[in-house]
Amino acid sequence: MSDCRCNRGMTQRNSRDRNEKCMDEFPVGMAYVPWQNWNQIYELDKALNNGTLFPELDKPFIGRRACR
């Protein structure tokens, strides 16, 4: 996995480790978004209907607290 500027020199592999292991080193009072990785994707017809290619981003608003 080549180094690339998308993680400021971090390879994709250790950016995932960094997220998981050292959350407690992150300063408090800040907002953090976990890094998305390329996992499963929807079939193309389902992706268009659901409005996203990525199941992990498929969060339809159903008018109340949504938990599957």
């Binding site: 996995m1 080549s2 180094d3 690339c4 500027r5 998308c6 994709q12 998305q36 390329w38 994707i41 079939e43 193309l44 017809d45 992706a47 268009l48 996203t52 290619l53 990525f54």
Partner: protein
């Protein structure tokens, strides 16, 4: 899921073009933040190729969808002669 474009009706092919175009845009947005993701890049080229073929097929069998194919292969300006995609409640 792979459609073979040549036996599709106009609506099916039009729907397929919408699906595959959506996948191209979604993958491009992902690559914007993950430019080194090889799996995403591979998928991007896959769906891009599918989109090109589908649009070419639509242009050959029905009418041009994009301006770069508007001249058509019969040498006449098909662009304005054929129905627009939204005519007839197609989209």
């Amino acid at each position: 899921m792979n459609y073979s474009c040549n036996r599709m009706s106009r609506e099916q092919l039009f729907d397929w073009i919408n699906m595959v175009s959506f996948a191209v845009v979604e993958t491009a947005l992902y690559l914007d933040t993950h430019p080194c993701d090889e799996e995403a890049m591979k998928f991007y080229h896959e769906v891009l190729e599918m989109r090109k073929n589908a649009i070419m097929e639509y242009s050959n069998h029905f009418e041009p969808l994009t301006l770069d194919l508007a001249g058509g292969n019969k040498g006449k300006w098909e662009w304005v002669m054929s129905p627009w995609p939204w005519e007839g409640g197609n989209c």
